[in-house]
């Protein structure tokens, strides 16, 4: 995780989110992790909320091929074209951006550019970005097709790994969530259980 690596390219973008295609099949970063894309104005940071592997051609369904094979890997060996016909995409919720040297935990003025590269983040970057938890409000209120609380849980568990005091970080994040979800105690309760 401590190396910046180019993992994909933006293929769809809006102000609040973007979709990137992975260069390698099944090589998307985990749910909730922080990625960035570079732009002329600065870096845009986001949290991965959905990873999807599907056929490149929308009309062509993937079919089962391993009936007579022993191991799953053999499917790809026997059908080398498969890795060219399938693709892994991941969707990212924009969580903030850097302008010059300052971090902003709100949406950038422009969405990410199409074809801009997407990189994983270094530990130090994750630490710096999650020092303030203001970005949580962007995620808590996002309308996305996957359960948003799962994304928040995954993101905070992931971020807590890079902080020296994991527990203190989680308590701080929990308190932030408690303020945001003050009127929805049920949701807060279930979310807090996902932080451990």
């Amino acid at each position: 995780m401590d190396k910046v690596s180019k993992i994909g390219e933006v293929i769809e973008a809006s102000s609040a989110e973007f979709t990137a295609q992975c260069y390698k099949l099944h090589q998307a970063p985990p749910l909730g992790s922080l990625v960035k894309t570079q732009d002329k104005l600065g870096d845009i940071y986001g949290v991965i909320y959905n990873v999807e592997t599907h056929s490149l051609e929308p009309g062509r369904r993937v079919v089962a091929r391993g009936e007579n094979l022993e191991a799953e890997e053999e499917i790809f060996k026997a059908n080398p074209q498969l890795s060219r016909l399938l693709t892994t995409d991941f969707r990212v919720l924009v969580a903030g951006h850097v302008e010059g040297k300052s971090w902003h935990h709100y949406l950038p003025p422009k969405p990410a550019s199409i074809h801009s590269f997407v990189y994983t983040c270094q530990l130090e970057e994750v630490r710096a970005f999650t020092r303030s938890l203001d970005f949580l409000s962007l995620i808590v209120n996002a309308r996305i097709p996957v359960p948003v609380d799962e994304v928040i849980g995954a993101c905070l568990r992931y971020a807590s790994q890079v902080h020296h005091d994991h527990d203190a970080f989680l308590v701080k994040a929990g308190k932030e969530l408690a303020f945001m979800l003050s009127t929805d105690v049920q949701r807060l309760n279930s979310l807090l259980k996902r932080l451990k």
Partner: protein, 543 residues
């Protein structure tokens, strides 16, 4: 850095709402536990322009949303418990801002001023530091007497004795809450600071020579601590002898000194009817002010009948009166003619600046107490009044302020008789003549409201009767807040002081009294030390 961290430790929270009359509400920080808070504690609030000094009057638990109370979070999980503390659920304090301490030089010179506004929204609230308390209550000096420490603090709370003696004051509290100890301390304070001379009507003989704690330990009385400044008068020398108390004067009161007003006040205790009490005035007119009692007590059957026929007094009234007056015969301190004038003796001592404690010995019932206290005080009052008038004419120096201490004050100062007793008058008007009262009572609701309102400083131990609490706090600002503080006092060694002699209401843990160290602190010298001091004084004198 160490300073900063200690400041962070004492930070409690921020002001979120409130008003001057009800007090401000303070939302506690997550790091502060409500269980560490206590009503009566002092806090300092850093406003934008002023620093406020206030007292915690209530502690409450709040939730950010009512549904939390219906479906409580799973706090068996320490992580969840830690997260919701201070966020979803939090503690709240109600703080009554009482004083403002200005930051500039001028306001430091002026000292703390009563708060006339509240701190702005989200001002930081901290526990008051030792220094804050010192600024507010001052250090012990020639005017201030150390009476105790605030709860959970070691700083001294001082009472301005010079201000204290200017008005009548009250010490209240349920039986066994430490009124006597507090009073003893106050008497020592007045004596030590030379602010006034005291006359104590000591019903249970516990101030003069020695008293007892509830556990049965003996504690030294004023005479033992300050032998040269205290004189013990007694009504019952046999009791004093039995207790091995060296008394200075034995008080005797002549029948001729008892006036009809005295009997009028004893109407209840002597079981007299209204008519028979009135008859006393008639008898005094007929038989002479100085002779009536002796004459009536010595009347035989026939003479009595003749007298009532002449004065048109009903037979049953006469019998009722006679029965009542016969009660006075059991008081051996009442004699037909007193050899020496007790009032004169008391005044002589008081003039010399010697405090007088009058022990009642075995006569510790209300009849004797009311009779003697009232009778002596009336005479003394007359003398002081004359002196004050002479002083106005420029003849003499102003008299030394006198503080008369009375116990069971509701017997003298209840609504029914307070307008007739001398104590009612002293409480109302005698400040002008340098005489004030120190009223000790366990039933303040029995005291006339008019008298209560005139008390300058009130010191009250635990009270739990609603009416008593109400009457003590009448007219005090922040009454309902103080009420909650007052009813939560501990039964021992704790008291709430408010009024003239302190800048703001304060709950104190009363200063220690009864240990060898405490006597020393109060200025008591052991025999050997006393001898050494006297020798040194003599040397200085001749050198």
């Amino acid at each position: 850095m160490a300073n900063q961290s200690s400041e962070e430790q004492t930070r409690l929270g921020v002001v979120v709402s409130g008003s001057l009359s009800r007090g401000v509400e303070v939302r506690l920080d997550a790091s502060v536990s409500v269980e560490d808070m206590a009503v009566g504690r002092y806090v300092a609030i850093e406003g934008a322009k002023h620093r406020f000094f206030g007292m915690i009057t209530d502690v409450s638990l709040e939730t950010i949303d009512p549904s939390v109370a219906i479906t409580p979070p799973d706090i068996s999980d320490p992580f969840i418990a830690q997260v919701i503390t201070g966020t979803t659920t939090y503690g709240k304090l109600r703080v009554l801002p009482m004083l403002t301490i200005g930051g500039d030089a001028a306001s430091i010179l002026e000292g703390p001023q009563p708060a006339k506004t509240v701190p702005a929204h989200f001002s930081a609230v901290k526990l008051a530091s030792q220094r804050d308390v010192e600024i507010v209550f001052g250090a012990e000096d020639e005017k201030r007497f150390y009476v105790g420490t605030p709860l959970d603090m070691e700083t001294k709370v001082c009472l301005n004795i010079a201000e204290f003696v200017k008005r009548s004051n009250g010490v209240f509290g349920k039986s066994g809450t430490g009124k006597t100890f507090l009073t003893r301390l106050l008497l020592v304070g007045m004596l030590q600071k030379n602010a006034a001379v005291s006359l104590v009507f000591d019903m249970h003989s516990e101030y003069g020579w020695e008293g007892k704690t509830e556990k049965g330990y003996k504690v030294k009385g004023l005479k033992q601590l300050f032998p040269s400044k205290v004189a013990i008068f007694t009504l019952d020398e046999e009791s004093s002898k039995r207790r091995r108390v060296s008394t200075d004067v034995v008080v005797r009161i002549g029948y001729d000194e008892i006036e009809p007003e005295d009997i009028d006040l004893l109407r209840q205790t002597l079981n007299l009817t209204e008519v028979s009490a009135q008859t006393v005035y008639q008898l005094a007119r007929e038989l002479g002010d100085r002779k009536w009692l002796e004459t009536v007590l010595n009347l035989n059957e026939d003479d009595g009948k003749q007298l009532i026929a002449r004065l048109n007094i009903h037979d049953s009234t006469y019998r009722n009166l006679r029965r009542g007056l016969e009660n006075l015969r059991r008081f051996s301190f009442l004699v037909p003619r007193a050899r020496e004038n007790s009032v004169q003796r008391i005044l002589e001592y008081l003039d010399r600046g010697i405090n007088v404690i009058l022990e009642f010995g075995r006569f510790d019932d209300f009849t004797a107490y009311i009779l003697v206290a009232n009778l002596l005080s009336r005479r003394i009052h007359t003398k002081y009044r004359e002196n004050a008038e002479r002083e106005m004419g420029g003849e003499v120096a102003p008299p030394r302020p006198l503080v008369i201490t009375i116990e069971e004050a509701h017997r003298f100062l209840n609504t029914e008789i307070s307008s007739r007793t001398i104590f009612g008058r002293i409480a109302r008007e005698m400040r002008k003549y340098n005489v004030t009262l120190l009223v000790i009572d366990q039933r303040p609701s029995g005291i006339d409201g008019e008298v209560m309102s005139q008390l300058g400083t009130k010191i009250t131990c635990l009270l739990d009767d609603e009416r008593d609490i109400d009457s003590v706090l009448t007219g005090t600002s922040g009454k309902s807040e103080l009420k909650s503080v007052l009813s939560k006092l501990e039964t021992k060694q704790q008291a709430l002081i408010f009024g003239h002699a302190v800048p703001m209401p304060v709950v104190i843990r009363t200063r220690e009294y009864g240990t060898a160290d405490s006597y020393k602190e109060l200025g008591f010298l052991e025999a050997a030390e006393l001898k050494k001091k006297t020798e040194k004084d003599m040397e200085d004198l001749w050198a």
